[in-house]
């Protein structure tokens, strides 16, 4: 009886070990696929261990190693809680990828993520490192001219300078962005770059009239997806009014009422128009039964 029990127990334990082994074993490309899937779910914690296993199993410098190391570095950068040692290790891994990445597709992304790491406060006591960030953005622009990441790099580069709140640097960033727009007039981030110029005019340069003009120009370039239109119009109208550009202010207050059908700003826009001596358009009531027919 005892022997039989022992045998059954051993069998069960063996089965359990096999199951655990199969569960914990990295599954090569399958493991990487799962890791990327988890990255898609923002589950950096789980994917970090999968990338770590995949990196250990592959030849350093190989494509598989580069892929796994990039994934691991990103997971360390973004998994929570944000720990100093994770961020330092992420920086080391990015630096290694950048070192061996010349001419490889991984270079612009490794540089971009390294720059974002430097450009962010991650943990208690962390310091922003704009110098490293600027070097990385400049390298993307200089070394990877065919990468789609050059436009975000240009945007971030200007952001670093403008967000320093130094008037000279901000003016320099505006000029630099204008040159970029002239060089790449059809770049997908051109209106976003223009919006950044507008922000720089507001702060630190404190020139509301130029800020309003830049926002208007950004809209003419085509507002990017995700812009909340009534907030945008409200901002332009207020800036213009602050700068004494009544004509633009009136135009944007009117647009809030006539173009944005469901906005909390409409009533106040009407009052502002009245104060500016203009008869405002009537309010659209999206909740009135006769206004609810919908349109294509």
């Amino acid at each position: 009886m005892n022997r039989r029990l022992k045998r059954t127990g051993t069998g069960l334990l063996a089965g359990l070990s096999l199951w655990l082994a199969s569960w914990s074993a990295p599954a090569g490309q399958g493991g990487l696929d799962t890791a990327w899937q988890e990255v898609g779910y923002l589950n950096y914690k789980k994917s970090a261990s999968l990338f770590e296993k995949a990196a250990k199993q592959s030849e350093p410098g190989s494509d598989a190693w580069i892929e796994a190391t990039l994934g691991l570095a990103a997971c360390l950068q973004h998994r929570q809680p944000d720990l100093q040692q994770d961020k330092e290790r992420a920086a080391e891994l990015y630096d290694r990828l950048i070192e061996i990445g010349a001419g490889k597709p991984v270079l612009p992304l490794a540089l971009m993520l390294r720059a974002r790491l430097a450009d962010q406060l991650d943990y208690y006591g962390d310091q922003v490192d704009p110098k490293t960030a600027l070097v990385c953005y400049d390298r993307i622009i200089a070394e990877c001219p065919d990468s789609p990441l050059i436009h975000p790099a240009a945007l971030f580069r200007a952001q670093v300078l403008i967000n320093s709140m130094d008037k000279t640097k901000a003016s320099g960033a505006i000029d630099w962005l204008r040159q970029w727009q002239a060089k790449y007039p059809a770049n997908p981030l051109t209106s976003m770059q223009q919006m950044l110029i507008a922000k720089a005019y507001k702060y630190p340069l404190q020139q509301p009239e130029k800020a309003a003009t830049a926002y208007v120009a950004a809209e003419e370039m085509g507002l990017p997806q995700g812009v909340v239109v009534d907030n945008y119009y409200w901002r332009v109208a207020n800036l213009a009014q602050q700068a004494g550009d009544t004509k633009t202010a009136i135009r944007y207050y009117e647009r809030i009422i006539t173009e944005v059908k469901r906005t909390g700003f409409a009533y106040e826009a009407q009052l502002r128009l009245k104060a500016l001596g203009v008869t405002p358009p009537p309010l659209f009531n999206p909740f009135a039964a006769d206004n609810q027919e919908g349109s294509k």
Binding site: V39, L42, L113, Q120, L189, W234, T263, Y267, K296
Partner: protein, 546 residues
């Protein structure tokens, strides 16, 4: 063994056995009904235990099941899983983590259903479906209109600005109003006319109090608790601040958050002791004086009970309570509803109050999300589409007397007073710059409302703690905001990495998402940088002063 002894010994076992048998029968019944080989089942869970909700939803379900059978020849069952608010979080979280979550989940309460990181993991983005027309709208004025544009707000409020997609579809919307006992009101005041102004409201309250005193009846004007107190506070305090919001909204968002108001405070642009705040708190005190004695210790339900018992003429609540209140008073008295009268023509307050807050940007409620684990994604979408045609949304909301969210869906006449008001001001003025400020101002606010502290005393306390802890609170918020920005960075990194490895992009929206993330990071980063610079400048200026 005596019968008594037998009963004492075996009653526990009997109950246990009966419970087991009942559970087995129930499981077998459910299995037979919902897991029959020829039946496809989808499960939908919610916490709406209010009167009428389950019946209204069941009506939609029954119609959908029949229609589906007729159209496809296939049987389906949509199974409601109502769960109380107390257990909802555990039910949803364990289901999501364990892979046994229902197919459609009412989004809320549970971390798994609200936190953006979990939302991305556990719920399906609905953007691609919402951009397509709802096929059930064929032959109606909404035919060919993208599904999202058939909702009153184009589902703008349902758009997740962190995850950059839609993750739910709403069924209803809600507003807050004053409910009144029409019979009692008429009996005391001799009229049906509800107060059109704040002064009239106070006069009505005065007459109700006098009536109660003269007749020796325990009748109060307003049934209150902290819940109702807060509803009144929100409606009466903020309108006093709209002008201040407009003056201090430096980033033109329409609202002034705690950091923006702190900077304005340091620049000497407002103070707690200003006539504006004094008037706001005095006004709130005037209102709360009309609540029953000891209202501060009462629960929300106690106030409703007082109202239902005709011991209070009025109370305040949202439209979500309309069916429950009406059901409770059925056969006793008629319920009327009116909007909060604003002190716009008051001799003292009107210089601060130009109007109420707008309800034009109201959000849709009862948010249904589809679980990513569900194997019946398309069926779930189809069911939600069926429920959100104009006719179905109208019938659902009419039967539960809630406000519909689909364009053109009509309100029942008794819901007219709940129709959102578009005239009004936008914004909020937040002052909770630090945890001590939040705790002390919130705590003492109840003392003001219950007349245990004067507005002047409250202002002195608020000022003291605000000035003592504000700078530290500001810096903490700055760091916290910077960390919140990290969430955007996490999503951006995920999208850039997936783009880099060439991961499938089923909706073809990755570039759009990356663009939106870049924009959000730009907005956020600039805001934090501006505030930091302004704060440092103010600190330097303070240090320079002798």
């Amino acid at each position: 063994m005596t019968l008594r002894k037998f009963f004492q010994t075996y009653v526990g076992v009997a109950i246990l056995l009966a419970s087991i048998i009942y559970a087995m029968v129930r499981v077998a019944y459910n299995e037979a009904t919902y897991k029959a080989p020829d039946v496809t089942t989808i499960r939908i869970c919610h916490w709406q235990l209010e009167a009428g909700f389950r019946d209204a939803l069941q009506e939609l379900i029954d119609e959908y099941e029949q229609l589906h059978l007729k159209r496809t020849g296939k049987k389906i069952r949509v199974m409601q899983l109502p769960v109380s608010e107390r257990g909802y979080s555990q039910f949803v979280n364990t289901g999501l983590i364990g892979g046994t979550a229902p197919d459609i989940i009412e989004k809320g309460f549970a971390k798994g259903a609200t936190d953006p990181a979990y939302t991305a993991r556990f719920f399906s983005p609905l953007g691609q479906y919402l951009d397509e027309p709802n096929p059930y709208n064929a032959g109606t004025p909404l035919e060919g209109v993208p599904w999202k544009d058939t909702f009153f707000d184009g589902l703008q409020a349902a758009y997740d600005r962190q995850l950059l997609d839609h993750y739910y579809v709403p069924f209803s919307m809600f507003t807050v109003r004053i409910y009144y006992n029409r019979d009692l009101y008429r009996q005391i005041l001799g009229t049906d006319r509800t107060p059109a102004s704040y002064q009239e409201f106070l006069d009505v309250c005065q007459r109700i109090r006098e009536h109660g005193q003269s007749k020796g009846l325990p009748i109060v004007p307003v049934a209150g608790s902290k819940y109702q107190g807060d509803l009144f506070r929100r409606r009466y305090e903020t309108p006093f601040l709209f002008e201040l919001i407009s003056q201090t909204d430096d980033d033109f968002t329409g609202s002034v958050d705690a950091m923006e108001s702190y900077l304005a405070y340091r620049q000497g642009r407002w103070s707690f002791e200003s006539p504006r705040f004094m008037a706001a708190w005095k006004c709130m005190l005037e209102v709360s004086k009309n609540f029953q004695d000891g209202w501060l210790a009462a629960q929300r339900d106690d106030a409703v009970f007082l109202f239902v018992q005709s011991r209070a003429v009025m109370t305040a609540s949202g439209s979500w309570d309309a069916p429950s209140i009406k059901k409770q008073v059925a056969g006793q008295f008629e319920v009327g509803v009116f909007d909060f009268p604003m002190p716009t023509d008051h001799p003292e307050y009107s210089k601060f109050v130009a109007g109420p807050a707008t309800e034009a940007s109201i959000k849709g409620g009862i948010p249904w999300a589809i679980c990513r684990q569900s194997r019946r994604q398309e069926l779930c979408v189809d069911f939600l589409r069926f429920c959100t045609t104009r006719a179905k949304n109208e019938s659902f909301n009419q039967s539960i007397t809630w406000l519909p969210v689909v364009l053109g869906a009509k309100l029942t006449p008794d819901l007219e007073p709940f129709r959102p008001r578009i005239e009004g001001f936008v914004g909020d003025f937040q002052t909770d710059i630090s945890t001590p400020v939040k705790m002390i101002t919130e705590g003492n606010r109840w003392s003001v409302l219950s007349d245990r502290m004067t507005p002047e005393q409250y202002a002195v306390k608020a000022k003291e703690v605000y000035e003592r802890t504000g700078a530290e609170g500001f810096q903490e918020k700055l760091v916290k905001d910077g960390r919140n920005n990290r969430n955007l960075e996490r999503i951006l990194a995920s999208q850039l990495l997936l783009q880099h490895i060439g991961a499938p992009d089923p909706n073809g929206r990755r570039d759009e998402k990356i663009g939106q993330l870049l924009l959000a990071i730009q907005e956020f980063g600039h805001k934090v940088a501006v505030r930091q610079a302004q704060f440092e400048a103010l600190q330097k200026e303070t240090e320079r002063k002798p």
